[in-house]
């Protein structure tokens, strides 16, 4: 198992009447709710939590890209990964990822990921999301019906830029470059492992399987609801004749660990409530720009999920646990459910949302520490037969340079 501590970095200070007074947490979020003095503290605290997760033994530290979003403070996940590259030494930097249709030219992504891979000594796991409609279409203005074509072209350009040592001309529809010659090269050759965040588009299954990328289902609605979608993915893996390594798949899950079930509710219920009832307050008009999903995906009924999405009014701690949106409780409770998740979804990568909503750092550290000490060891026993499958994880240099204060070294000499 590969266990990644995944940070969303929510804004902690949405008011109690946020849902009544504001239409959306995303895209047109009220900018007056942002206070950069608090932001200064919050960014640094979230970076501290990620660094702390490395000391607890997590395999990866995860971040992602959102724009104009009060539950995700990372328009540029590469900045977060860069900060972590210097302050951590062992964990993978799981950047899930850069929305490659948004970068002009997309070789920017090839460059920045190569920089991260160099600085970190080969610890990068790179992600290429198509991006949500909120980010890609409404915030960054990409034409919905052309987004996937632009994404596919950007992907082709980046992969060629990483693989080819001769400068080449790229005559794309969306990007035209006379001299593609990305410098630096990624440390991991020919390129870092790639995880593709998916949200139910069937085209993404084939894309991942054919390219040997990890299909990562990032959902806030828990593993029970994810079963149908992941089952369809594994059926497609079999249809295309690929092997069934569980490392082909990943899943994100909200997890809260207490000493007991009762302690978990006492410590975390209000923060989970903040996340589901305030952070996920998204104007439905922003959810799926017309043309963003393919007709094939709509026909598969993936969007019917939206029709069945619960009305938020009633989402209590009990609702969230009963539907397994949240896995919370004592280490034994959490372990048993995660064991079931790993087996039923057949995933080798787990992205753990252990900080949630407006949770303060001390509670987040308590939950992460209990997870690391009392849950993680059991999860590590999964998939021993695939232990040597290195296709979906990073391969750091054995002898890595440690960040060293050169000035101090000179002073000593």
């Amino acid at each position: 198992m590969r266990l990644t501590y995944f940070a969303l970095m929510p804004w902690r200070y949405l008011p109690g009447d946020f849902r009544e007074k504001h239409r959306s947490v995303w895209v047109d979020i009220d900018r007056r709710l942002y206070d950069p003095i608090k932001g200064h503290a919050l960014y640094n605290e979230y970076l501290d939590l990620l660094e702390h997760a490395e000391t607890l033994g997590f395999d990866g530290l995860g971040c992602n890209e959102h724009h104009q979003n009060a539950y995700g403070l990372m328009p540029s996940p590469n900045l977060i990964a860069a900060a972590l590259a210097r302050r951590t030494s062992r964990a993978a930097l799981v950047v899930l990822g850069n929305s490659i249709a948004l970068y002009n030219p997309p070789t920017r992504v090839a460059e920045e990921f190569a920089m991260l891979d160099n600085i970190s000594g080969g610890r990068l796991v790179a992600g290429f999301p198509v991006g949500t409609s909120m980010d890609t279409n409404y915030t960054y203005g990409q034409i919905p019906a052309l987004t996937r074509e632009k994404y596919a072209e950007a992907h082709e350009l980046i992969m060629r830029a990483w693989r080819e040592d001769e400068p080449f001309a790229f005559n794309g529809r969306y990007t035209k470059l006379r001299y593609v010659n990305v410098w630096p090269k990624p440390l991991q050759q020919p390129h870092p492992p790639i995880h593709i965040p998916g949200g139910g588009s069937v085209e993404t299954y084939d894309f991942c399987i054919k390219n040997t990328y990890c299909y990562s289902y990032l959902s806030y609605y828990g593993y029970v609801r994810a079963k149908a979608l992941m089952k369809a993915y594994w059926e497609r893996v079999a249809e295309l004749g690929a092997d069934e390594s569980p490392y082909r798949a990943g899943f994100a899950q909200v997890v809260c660990v207490g000493e007991t079930d009762a302690e978990a509710e006492r410590l975390y219920a209000e923060h989970v409530n903040y996340f589901y009832n305030r952070c996920l307050h998204i104007h439905p008009g922003f959810a799926d720009a017309p043309g963003y999903r393919t007709i094939k995906t709509i026909k598969m009924g993936a969007l019917a999920q939206y029709g069945r999405r619960p009305k938020w009014e009633t989402l209590s701690w009990k609702n969230l646990l009963d539907d397994a949106f949240v896995i919370a409780g004592s280490p034994v409770t959490v372990r048993d459910q995660l064991n079931e998740l790993i087996k039923t979804l057949r995933v080798g990568n787990l992205y753990l949302l252990l900080h949630i909503g407006d949770m303060p750092a001390d509670k987040a550290m308590h939950s992460a520490r209990l997870f690391a000490e009392k849950v993680m060891p059991a999860l590590r026993e999964h998939w021993p037969e695939y232990g040597d499958d290195g296709r979906f994880w990073c391969h750091p240099l054995q002898q890595r340079v440690r960040p060293a204060p050169l000035a101090a070294a000179r002073g000593a000499a």
């Binding site: 279409n137 409404y138 203005g141 034409i143 919905p144 019906a145 052309l146 074509e149 529809r173 104007h283 439905p284 008009g285 922003f286 720009a289 017309p290 043309g291 963003y292 999903r293 007709i295 709509i298 026909k299 009924g301 969007l303 019917a304 029709g307």
Partner: protein, 258 residues
């Protein structure tokens, strides 16, 4: 009586509603599309031989992935006229269709002699930002589109229940096909540079505008009139963005004899 037939074009087969007798007119639809029962087509067909092609993805027609931008759809629209065997017909465009018709007249000024633009899209005035139709929820649409909001709501909903999956999936498919297509020309800002090309239009042009258009309020009519050298303007009372739907008789009266 309006009939549907399919013609071949370079891009894809195109469905065309046709009916009536008289002078040939080609009508380009708004983002809502046309049906055989559309009151504007029925009213127009009492005076003209009407040809109303559907954009690819509307109705049962196949999508055209190779139509990506304004130039593509403009040239495709000329291909449609060619395939219909028509020579410089009276060209009418509504909203998005008006944007395409204006673009056609600007790109090939000698091929469009007479032009009717009904609340056309295509310009952007900072003082009057156009509502974002791509985020409107179904219940919010009538207030933006219609003068008589209550009546407009009845025209639009046709009794579907958005919480019923049997209704929702076909609804979403149609919405993705049609608005996915028009998004190529209107998303995120319905301006593809037409204002810099209006000067090329030689066609005698009639602008028809709903007096209470909340999508493109009357200053947009003035901007079109100022940009096209030979244009006049008729304002239709008690009509919003879609006078052809809300006041079809008055709209046709404004065209007949032009």
């Amino acid at each position: 009586m309006i009939k549907l037939r399919t013609i071949d074009t370079h891009q894809v087969p195109v469905q065309v509603f046709e009916g009536g007798e008289g002078e040939n007119v080609v009508v380009l639809h708004d983002a809502g599309g046309f049906t055989a029962e559309h009151p504007f087509l029925l009213a127009l067909a009492r005076h003209y031989r009407v040809h109303a092609p559907l954009l690819p993805g509307y109705g049962d027609s196949v999508e055209a992935p190779n139509i990506r931008d304004m130039l593509d759809v403009t040239l495709h629209s000329f291909d449609v006229i060619e395939a219909l065997g028509l020579n410089r017909p009276l060209l009418i465009g509504c909203s998005l269709g008006g944007m395409i018709a204006a673009e056609m007249a600007a790109i090939a000024p000698n091929d469009v002699e007479r032009l009717v633009l009904i609340d056309p899209a295509g310009l952007w005035l900072d003082a009057y930002p156009v509502p974002d139709v791509f985020v409107l929820l179904p219940h919010e649409v009538p207030a933006v589109l219609f003068h008589d909001v209550e009546k407009g709501a009845k025209i639009l909903t046709r009794g579907g229940d958005i919480d019923d999956p049997d209704f929702l999936i076909p609804y979403l498919i149609n919405y993705a096909r049609t608005f996915g297509m028009v998004g190529k020309f209107l998303f995120p800002i319905p301006d593809r540079g037409l204002k810099d090309r209006l000067y090329r239009i030689k066609a005698r042009t009639r602008l028809i505008w709903g007096a209470s258009d909340r999508m493109f309020p009357l200053p947009y009519a003035s901007a079109f009139k100022a940009g096209i050298r030979n244009a006049d303007l008729i304002v239709i009372p008690e009509a919003g963005h879609l006078p052809q739907l809300e006041q079809p008789a008055a709209t046709v009266r404004a065209i007949v004899g032009f």
